[in-house]
């Protein structure tokens, strides 16, 4: 099944539950009508939270740039000795 269809089926199930709630009147109707809005807003907040948290915890590796420079120097030395042209690119 294509992924968009999976998402669509999920949406259909959630909508059916919502309509069921509307008809069964377990929760007062005024509240039930607002549920989709609550859902969308919560989803949006969750998304923003994930972005924010991810940004704060974004893994960085400043030492890697230094290690890379060392590796490059080592490589250039070796290759120069062996006759490979490692002049400026």
């Amino acid at each position: 099944m294509k992924h968009v269809l999976k998402l669509f089926s999920l949406l259909v199930v959630i909508s059916a539950l919502w309509i069921g709630l509307l008809q069964a009147s377990i929760i007062p109707q005024s509240h039930t009508w607002l549920l989709p809005i609550y859902f969308i807003v919560s989803l949006g907040c969750y998304g923003l939270l994930m972005v924010g948290v991810g940004l704060m915890r974004f893994p960085t590796c400043p030492q890697e740039a230094l290690l890379l420079q060392q590796d490059i120097a080592e490589a250039k030395d070796f290759l120069k000795q062996k006759g490979v042209d490692v002049g400026s690119d």
Binding site: L55, F58, C61, P62, E64, L68, A75, D85, V86, D89
Partner: protein
């Protein structure tokens, strides 16, 4: 799987990587001492003399270890992999970039992970502990994180780093997946891993560090973002 009988074909597409290709070959040989491998350089007619350097490297390391399989002009990444695959004699294939943003020192960890888990694909991820990125400013990190959250929400891909292109594949799996991918650029990398995930292939991740050496070149303008969104929608609908 008998570890002694494994051979790894490392496909490196190049365009104007005269210096980097030499450095990367040196580093691969340094970090894969007891491994049976070959490096397949797919050069798209670089005007800077990349192919001459590769020939010098062949004299040094052997023409059986470094294969030069060039093409006449820039023809794109996907076809570069397909071209390289045709000449690959290993039972595993590694794809990596030539500009040293992918460091060969992680190759042993890819191999080890695959042997431990028997995975069909091992993909490098920059976004977990032990991995990381250097050289991105705040805006770039924000865009990356936003894009990732969106892709995770919409696609449920099963991997943490969708656009990464440092990966180890079983050769038969790469052949299967690549035949059904049609996108270009980094959306191609996303399509590869999502299709593989949908097909049920066992995918494992290893942390890698990524040093972005192209400082100041923010490849993320408005059109890139639009391309990305179009790519996401395409993947939602076709996978």
């Amino acid at each position: 799987m008998d570890a002694e009988k494994n051979k790894y074909s490392i496909i490196v597409p190049t365009y104007n990587e005269r210096l980097n290709i030499a450095l990367i070959v040196y580093l691969i040989f340094k970090h894969l001492r007891d491994v049976d491998f070959e490096i397949i350089v797919v050069d798209d007619g670089s005007p800077d003399g990349t192919q001459e350097i590769v020939k010098q490297l062949q004299k040094l390391y052997g023409e059986d270890r470094i294969l030069l399989r060039p093409r006449a002009k820039k023809l794109g990444l996907g076809t570069a992999y397909i071209h390289g695959l045709k000449h690959a004699s290993g039972n595993f294939v590694v794809i990596m970039d030539a500009d040293l943003s992918h460091h060969p020192k992680y190759l042993p960890s890819f191999i080890k992970k695959q042997l431990e888990t028997g995975a069909s694909i091992v993909t490098g991820t920059r976004y977990v502990t032990g991995g990381g990125v250097h050289g991105w400013n705040l805006m770039r990190k924000l865009t990356s994180r936003g894009a990732n959250v969106l892709a995770q929400t919409l696609l449920w891909p099963g991997v943490s780093d969708l656009t990464g292109s440092f990966r180890l594949y079983k050769k038969s799996v790469l052949e299967d997946v690549i035949s059904s991918c049609v996108s270009k650029g980094y959306v191609f990398q996303m399509e590869m891993i999502v299709r593989a995930s949908r097909k049920g292939y066992h995918i494992e991740e290893v942390p890698i560090t990524f040093v972005d050496r192209v400082f100041g070149s923010s490849k993320l303008g408005g059109s890139e973002i639009v391309e990305y969104l179009k790519g996401l929608i395409y993947l939602m609908v076709t996978t």
